[in-house]
């Protein structure tokens, strides 16, 4: 009561003043004033004391109906305990359900991630195989590019053969032309031989005439002249035969000329087209190779990305661990509430004992539980809270 302290301080001061006045100043007016003040203060103090006793009387009055309040407190505590019990049941059931759900989901996700990983690997190997196949033929001998190059070389060789054949044919043609010229020379000689034969014929005729004029003496000579004449006729016939043969040879040579012409004159248009097609094909193969190479690069970049994504997914599955910890601490909290509920139940069991005492023990137990929970909570907050910090933990 602070007012009391002030009042006693004031009384003490006033009394000291009176004593000092009596001993030192000895002024009656001062004594009178101080005593009046003291009396006035005393009166005021008693007035306040009276008032405070009146205001204290109302709670004192409530203490007169403790039985009814005790029962109410018991009822309230009982209801509270019931309520807590029910809530705890619900919370525990939900916690268990959540645990199960998370466990199932994590198992499913982990399985699907594993499958995804294996599928990705399979896809990668298939792609590599496909690339290998696209580069080489079934037997694995040479690439498409090699084939096109070989074909191009074959075509070049073919063109070479054609050109050389033409060249050789033309040379043959030149030789043939020379031969024809030589035939003409033979004809020239043949005409000379023919004129010789006709002169021989004339000579033989003259000889026969001269032999006839000589009479019997020239009879033998006439026989010789006749023989010479028939020989010249034979030689003319032979000449004609040679001429005929050579003419036939000339015809054969004309045929030869045609054959050689056909052999020498190959049309280059189709070869030109083939060559054009080949170069188009070559460009196409080049493009295809470039495209394949860039695709391979892209795919090889894609594969580690996929693996990373799967790894991130797997790492994210660690949330189960953290969630389990959270759920566990929640369970501890529920246990705390449960212990309080038990304390409340104890309260209910002893209705006859002193309510005040029970309330105090309830308060103490509550404090104890609070301390325990607080300690557990501060321990828990130290634990890992971030998933990214952990290493990859494969399930």
């Amino acid at each position: 009561m602070s007012i009391n302290r002030y009042m006693f301080g004031l009384f003490f001061t006033l009394t000291i003043l009176i004593i000092v006045n009596q001993l030192v100043i000895e002024s009656s007016a001062m004594f009178f004033v101080v005593v009046t003040l003291l009396l006035f203060c005393l009166g005021y103090y008693f007035l306040i004391l009276e008032k405070s006793s009146i205001s204290n009387s109302s709670p004192a009055k409530e203490q007169y109906i403790p039985d009814v309040d005790n029962e109410l407190i018991h009822n309230v505590v009982f209801e509270l305990q019931q309520f807590l019990q029910q809530e705890i049941k619900v919370i525990e059931a939900e916690l268990n359900r959540t645990k199960l759900l998370i466990e199932e989901a994590v198992f499913g996700m982990s399985d699907s991630f594993k499958e995804m990983q294996s599928l990705t690997d399979e896809q990668q190997s298939m792609i590599l195989q496909l690339i290998d196949n696209s580069h080489s033929f079934a037997g694995g001998e040479g690439t498409l590019e090699d084939f096109v190059k070989d074909s191009d070389k074959t075509l070049d060789d073919f063109v070479n053969v054609i050109v050389n054949t033409s060249k050789q044919s033309l040379e043959t043609m030149n030789y043939t032309d020379e031969m024809v010229t030589q035939f003409d020379g033979i004809f020239n000689i043949l005409s000379q031989v023919e004129s010789l034969a006709s002169q021989t014929n004339l000579l033989a005729l003259n000889a026969a005439i001269e032999a006839a004029r000589a009479g019997d003496a020239g009879r033998g000579f006439a026989v010789v002249a006749n023989e010479v004449r028939s020989l010249s006729v034979d030689s003319t016939e032979l000449n004609q035969e040679i001429r005929n043969e050579i003419n036939q040879a000339k015809e054969t040579i004309a045929n030869l000329r045609q054959s050689v012409e056909i052999m020498a004159s190959a049309d280059m248009t189709s070869t030109l087209e083939a060559k054009n097609k080949m170069s188009v094909m070559m460009k196409h193969v080049d493009k295809l190779n470039q495209y394949t190479n860039s695709s391979v690069d892209k795919l090889s970049n894609l594969s580690p990305k996929l693996t990373d994504a799967v790894a991130t997914g797997v790492r994210s599955l660690q949330f189960e661990d953290l969630t389990r910890q959270s759920l566990h601490s929640l369970e501890l909290n529920v246990e705390s509430i449960l212990s309080i509920s038990k304390v409340l139940a104890d309260f209910e069991n002893k209705p006859s004992s002193d309510v005040h005492q029970q309330l105090i023990s309830l308060k103490d137990k509550c404090q104890a539980v609070y301390q325990e929970t607080h300690l557990a909570e501060s321990k828990r907050s130290v634990k890992q809270l971030n998933m990214d910090e952990g290493d990859i933990d494969l399930f």
């Binding site: 063109v159 050109v163 054949t165 033409s166 040379e171 043609m173 030149n174 020498a264 280059m268 030109l272």
Partner: protein, 101 residues
């Protein structure tokens, strides 16, 4: 005349020019253009600017001309071939054997 040739003694050039078609039918004329020329160090110029068609016998004739040119230590140049003719010469890889411009 489908084959024309002119010998320029002052510049040491023998110019042979061919008309539209260069095929087997010209082989005699073509050969006559150079077979009698035996001068050494001559520059043979084959003008194909008018030629539009050429078959393999033309290539053979050019090769025979090339043999003749080499025999007399001369040079051979093919002048102004059209696109088609140029392609045929390219396929036959004549650019490795002689100058084409």
């Amino acid at each position: 005349m489908t084959v024309n040739s002119s010998l320029h003694s002052d510049s040491n050039q023998l110019i042979i020019s061919i008309d539209e078609r260069f095929d087997f039918s010209l082989h005699q004329q073509f050969r006559d253009c150079y077979s009698q020329v035996q001068q050494k160090g001559l520059e043979y110029i084959l003008d194909l600017s008018k030629t539009k068609y050429m078959d393999s016998s033309a290539l053979g004739m050019i090769l025979l001309l090339k043999d003749h040119v080499e025999m007399y230590a001369s040079t051979l140049t093919i002048q102004n071939p059209s696109d088609t003719v140029s392609k045929i010469l390219e396929i036959a890889q004549f650019h490795r054997l002689m100058t084409i411009k």
